[in-house]
Symmetry: C2
Subunit: 648 residues, 2 copies
């Protein structure tokens, strides 16, 4: 049997990023953001919502008096922070961070109960009620994040303490839940533990973790519904539930689901875990289910920024092509989860379509969640903001116009941290005879292809310029394939090996240009991706974008901001034939390419009339439009923002 | 002192309507709708939400066992039905209707308590709690509707019973509330009684009713806020309140309010009552306040259909230019309330601007609430409906795609009934020396100008054609002014008296063409309003309508329906230069003028790609667009609907 897995990511600690976008963000995280988050978790930051995450562990460990405070899944904030910190520790020395991590790990160790159980909410606030409400109470979700942190910590430091905690909890869970006669047929209300268990399996080789992950995927949605069984046992009245089955992805057994539904982060964490299970258990049917649901997400339910989840209510997917821009929920964590899922599809099947989506989400929907100063965050990422109405209307009250220092529900900040800290792992992958370049990110990497170590450097100003120079330094000459993603946005690409042109079309396989040859130390590959500014249109069924275009250059989606273009951005129009000029602005927003265009602004007439006949002649004036990268909006004065601009 | 009132409406029972729009609707109401509503109120209609309104009165009268059922203001459904029935009785004999009315009146009489109090909710469900929560409990609102019904019943039948009930309740209220030392400084949470008390004053001459109305207007919003005082007395925790002050129009003392705020029906009933008070008390300051708030409504917060209230949450106004089409609330009752307010402004100051808005609301936002069969109703009237998303999204769950037989909160059906039954009163007005024609509605009227009776006929196919032939038959020749509204939508108008052309511009005063002469029996006036199909644009600050136009002909606003144009109406475009052709279709929707246009439909490409670069060349195909009057949508198969169509 051939494993479904094809291309294994080159690990985060083997890749150094030195590009103009991710590297500065990661640098700010290392120098400032990770410490800021640690301070918040320790309640040492004034003026932000209280975290109490560390205090909850102290109370659970019996070292402090007090009550549990926060969301039922508050523990996961500390776990995700630990995971991020571990990734940072793996690449460069950071003594103070190492001390914080040791402090946190020791605390988690002490908080675990003798039977392996660990969840400070139940230990402190509801002892005796553990495992009675998997639907709502997030114990398995928190366990998943503990496991992920433990795996990262172990790989980064080689130390066993946190991994031991995670294994004891995983064993506790594996005893309790499963298909056996003495087991409960439960599964998590919020998926996450599935992918974590596969990570644990990969590190430990312990098959029971993989089996449990697979069980969680396959039990999901079976009738009778476990959530109803446990609700009945709790004495909960039928119909008490706030959300319908699809919110939890239990509207049908997982393998029978046809469309991606419900809470976007849950759906995408579930799919990531299911893909991991499919790979490790060689299950093409399960892979096919995941592909079907993810195709649905990407072809019909994703914003141009890579954001997903178009409804604030339920933080969820709705129906095909329902993508309103002003009411988009597009949680930062959901864009991150889309990256996770696409990264796994790339492992099974290197296809540029998955890399394109991963890249789209990373540069736009994900990075937009983080301020340039590294300490302010968006939870919600709409594509159109009119500040006055965002606060005046109840149906846009989830839209904030400025990034916040923290949240009562603070899932996004440490999720951003762990993604950025591990960004290197998304760049390359290898299989027995290939090295894949998924992303163009300046820096270097240590990989191994067919047993031969390869050092590789990328020199490029990507995403601001499209030329990428790769230098390969295999430890010994060997024949293998260098596979370069030719992004879907690139209408034209040029390729040369050691100065000799190669026709990319001739070597293209599912969007990857495959250069197969004996590679020698010092071989050079140049890829030139032509990067004109493009007007992007949405599928005609996306009602919200009818008559509008988005501006994109390379992988970067642009937006208009009030600070550059004045108020009432909806009155601006981009003529079909006007030139769009890119310009590198080192002084702006940490250095970005801005786009300027000759546009038009609808004139306000002298009358106050709200409705009047369309007048003959010109009712618009010429203006210069200035577009900035969507991910950098709201780093200057607050104001309106618009991605999809009207065509004139 | 000169009274502010200038033009007194010619009463509903002096006007016969025989036009192609209102007359058939009124006929259906008389023959079917009014009986249908009586059956619903008596719980004799299966398959619709239970009313129990009549039963509540029976229980309150001690003639039936049972509990109160329904909204706290369920009584008002019966009162509004009674008011509508009275108008119908006044114009043509209707023995069965007269019997129902007598039954209802007798029941109301028997339900009143000895001290004059009458509100079946408190009598049956919360005896002892009366007048403890004016903010939420609608006692004064119900009293207002009783008073309106009583005045209409008295004027229609000459009978005293219901008027006596109303006076006893009004006296009861006047003893309890007011500025006196022994009085409570209360006022209604939901305005309505203010305008009702002025009607009662006009019929009875009893000044205390006018004083009470004026008190209610002026006390509103004063500090300390009465709603807080009574809440404190009830022991209610501060902050318990669901809505903010502006929802109730108590964010400032009424005369200091600058913009129209809060619940749209409340705001407009309040303004109607305040205008009545201003007229009767000769209070130009109060008039100015009302004008300011109504200008704000009409110039910045009104849909092109005359609908108002752009937010479902709070059924309310939001901020200037916030007029989303898919999430519009635009309650039918709010459009009716806008008609009430504009009708009162016309009484103070005949100005076509007010008549234009009244006409816009009547033909579009109001009539759209009622099915052609007279027994199905919209509560919410959006300008863009995508049925699948309306049910899938939480923020559009208020949008129904088909009219309903009744509602749990059934304010709209009997409100439509009383408006249609009294439609005649909106057509004409008179002052000492003028006869105003506000609306062009075929039929006849009996008026009196300067003491001289005048019989007048309108012969016209308006609103489908713009030619209006008026014939005047004064009882004796006399010099006075015939003032004809020249609608704002009419770019060109022609006028002739007895065949002699008159230049309308030469006699125009605030949009009314004033023909002053000695009028003789049989004098004929012809008004020709050119009625081309117009593309209407919204003010550039209306973000939701940017790049879109509405199609209007005369006062009729049009829409696209899926049944005529296929699905995905957002993909349709109306080219700037294409012809718009009106066509009379006697077979369609009870007889309407439809508009056809050469339009374009964005093509769906062969790929599934959600986002792609704008292609060179044509990506749209030619299609014929068919527009039908907005008010007639959803009378055939359910489907999408769109008022604002993209410009190509």
């Amino acid at each position: 049997m051939i494993s479904l897995r094809r291309a294994w990511p080159v690990r985060w600690d083997r890749v150094r990023v030195a590009d103009p976008v991710f590297a500065p963000r990661r640098q700010v995280l290392r120098e400032r953001g990770i410490g800021y988050q640690w301070d918040v978790l320790n309640d040492r930051v004034a003026g932000v919502p209280r975290s109490h995450a560390v205090a909850n562990f102290r109370i659970a460990a019996g070292e402090m008096q007090g009550s549990f405070y926060g969301m039922v899944f508050q523990d996961s904030d500390l776990y995700k922070w630990l995971e991020a910190a571990a990734y940072l520790l793996a690449t460069e020395p950071a003594p103070q961070l190492a001390e914080w991590v040791a402090t946190a790990v020791d605390l988690v160790v002490r908080a675990q109960q003798p039977d392996g159980y660990l969840d400070t909410y139940f230990q402190v606030a509801e002892p005796g009620q553990r495992w009675t409400n998997l639907r709502d109470q997030h114990e398995l979700y928190c366990a998943g994040h503990l496991i992920e942190a433990a795996v990262a910590h172990h790989l980064a430091t080689g130390r066993p303490e946190l991994l031991t905690v995670a294994r004891r909890l995983a064993d506790h869970i594996a005893r309790r839940f499963g298909p056996g006669p003495d087991q409960r047929r439960g599964y998590p209300g919020h998926p996450e533990i599935e992918l974590a268990l596969v990570r644990l399996y990969r590190v430990t080789g312990e098959r029971s973790y993989l089996d449990l992950a697979r069980y969680f995927v396959d039990e999901r949605g079976r009738r009778p519904l476990y959530f109803d069984v446990e609700a009945h046992e709790r004495g909960e009245a039928p119909g008490h539930r706030h959300f319908d089955d699809s919110y939890y992805q239990v509207h049908a057994p997982f393998r029978q689901q046809r469309t991606i539904e419900g809470h976007a982060v849950r759906a995408l964490y579930l799919l990531s875990g299911a893909l991991d299970v499919a790979m490790e258990t060689d299950d093409p049917e399960l892979l096919q289910v995941c592909r079907r649901l993810l195709d649905n997400a990407v072809e019909r339910r994703m914003y141009v920024t890579g954001g997903v989840g178009s409804s604030a209510w339920g933080e969820r997917f709705t129906i095909d092509y329902d993508l309103p821009n002003d009411r988009a929920y597009t949680e930062t964590c959901a864009a991150i989860a889309l990256v996770f899922a696409m990264h796994r599809l790339l492992q099974v099947e290197p296809d540029r379509r998955y890399g394109d989506v991963m890249e789209r989400a990373l540069y736009n929907g994900v990075l937009g969640g983080l301020s340039l100063d590294g300490t302010h965050f968006f939870y919600v990422n709409p594509l159109e903001v009119w500040p006055e109405v965002a606060s005046a209307r109840h149906d846009t009250r989830h839209v904030l116009v400025q990034r916040q220092g923290w949240f009562d529900c603070a899932c996004c900040p440490p999720n951003l941290a762990r993604l950025l800290a591990s960004i290197g792992q998304y760049v390359y992958a290898t299989d027995e005879a290939s090295l894949y370049v998924h992303l163009y990110v300046a820096g270097e990497a240590e990989a191994e292809v067919g047993g031969v170590p390869v050092h590789l450097t990328q020199a490029t100003r990507y995403p601001w310029e499209g030329t990428v120079d790769l230098t390969l330094r295999p430890a010994s000459p060997a024949r293998w394939t260098l596979a370069l993603r030719i992004p879907g946005w690139a209408r034209e690409a040029r390729l040369a090996v050691n100065g000799e042109p190669v026709d990319p079309a001739a070597v293209l396989d599912r969007g990857y240009a495959r250069l197969t040859r004996v590679w020698h130390h010092g071989d050079r590959v140049r890829l030139e991706l032509l990067m004109p500014v493009e007007r992007i249109q949405a599928h005609p069924r996306v009602r919200a974008d009818a008559g509008r275009v988005a501006v994109q250059r390379g992988p970067i989606v642009y937006c208009l901001e009030e600070v550059d273009n004045g108020p009432n951005l909806a009155a601006l129009m981009l003529p079909r034939d006007g030139r769009l000029r890119p310009e590198w602005r080192p002084d702006l927003l940490g250095g970005v390419v801005v786009i300027t265009a000759e546009g038009r602004r609808r004139r306000e007439g002298p009358s106050n009339e709200l409705y009047r006949p369309v007048a003959d002649g010109d009712d618009a004036e010429a203006v210069t439009l200035t577009f900035v990268p969507y991910a950098t909006w709201a780093n200057r004065q607050p104001g309106e923002m618009l991605v999809w601009v009207g065509e004139a």
